[in-house]
Point group: C2
Chain length 228, copies 2
Amino acid sequence: MDQSGSMKRRMTTPPPSERSTLRRLPQRASYEEAVVHSILDEGIVAHVGVAVDGQPYVLPMVYGRVERDLYLHGASVSRLARQLALGVPVCVTVTLLDGLVLARSAFHHSVNYRSVVVLGTAVLVTDEAEKTRALEAITDHLLHGRWAEVRPPNAQEMKATSVLRLPLVETSAKVRTGPPRDDTEDLALDCWAGVLPLQLVARPPENAPELREGIPPPAYLPKTRAGQ
Amino acid sequence: MDQSGSMKRRMTTPPPSERSTLRRLPQRASYEEAVVHSILDEGIVAHVGVAVDGQPYVLPMVYGRVERDLYLHGASVSRLARQLALGVPVCVTVTLLDGLVLARSAFHHSVNYRSVVVLGTAVLVTDEAEKTRALEAITDHLLHGRWAEVRPPNAQEMKATSVLRLPLVETSAKVRTGPPRDDTEDLALDCWAGVLPLQLVARPPENAPELREGIPPPAYLPKTRAGQ
């Protein structure tokens, strides 16, 4: 694994726990809260891990953040939501993929990415006001401004939805940026090297088939990035 | 969680194990091997979960596939590689994000996605020929055609790299496609609904700073998708 080209940021707000301290490539680690939050805010899907009898399960979930809390939600009857509600250890990982790092040697190939790992124990949210705020955060995390326009959950929907809170205490970020860093003796090789940047872009919105006439896509949709 | 708009594909090659059978929204489940392989082949980063003393850890890793085996690699000295090499249960999840599903009700918001979950026990690859094939698969998974052009790993690099094989036996796929499906009574709301498609696109390649003059980006780089 390539150890170079990394952005070094290492601060201690909050200080990392022993088990959330990166041992490999510590120059890629960031404990700065602002970095952790910015990665979480840019991501859309988290990969949530729980272990059942030693077998880990990792499932994609949407999420939201309110200050120093991460919120997950799921159907109340789902296996994962029930498991999480038991108060088991959880790991929530969000990864943003920024590019392919194409070195002259196979060994130094890598990806540019920004990732956050959150360890902790999720807690079932039972307070209705907090639950509503969390669902607002999750909805607006998908698309900022959406909550204000849509029909909020009714009592039946609230009951059918479990919301879980995971404090952003044991967090770590890992970031790789920049070009490949080949061994000096490989620089003379007749092989292209560089980065292929990758970006998640929005395409033009597609109206729902039953959409009433005369309702345009909302202004808060991100501008389609095609062509930029 | 939204239960609609799903693509139903359910076949049994190989038959799912009890623990890899989806219980929630089974209409989103696919056990068809070709679907599992196509999702794995399109993904770039997997989220790999292992549990240590009941605490799950989920880390992003690149990977490769050779027929019915998934390969992971890491620095031999890394915690995760050493943990995996012990023969512990592992979960490898790959998720492709295809769009935001924007319903008229908060409750029916969702994402369009394709995901694969692989359960099993990874095995350390000790055969040098298989290890080389796996590294070729991982490199070409990043960018098809790359392996043939780059300097292959030397003995020291091979020693510094652990390769792990996870058989694609206990696999399941989950797919959501299509528009939001709101409750009938919400269709009259004065709220836009639809899908915002998302796509991971390549931007123009960036040459490494020390690139020798006269070496153009290779033809096997994907065409930049901007503007399409």
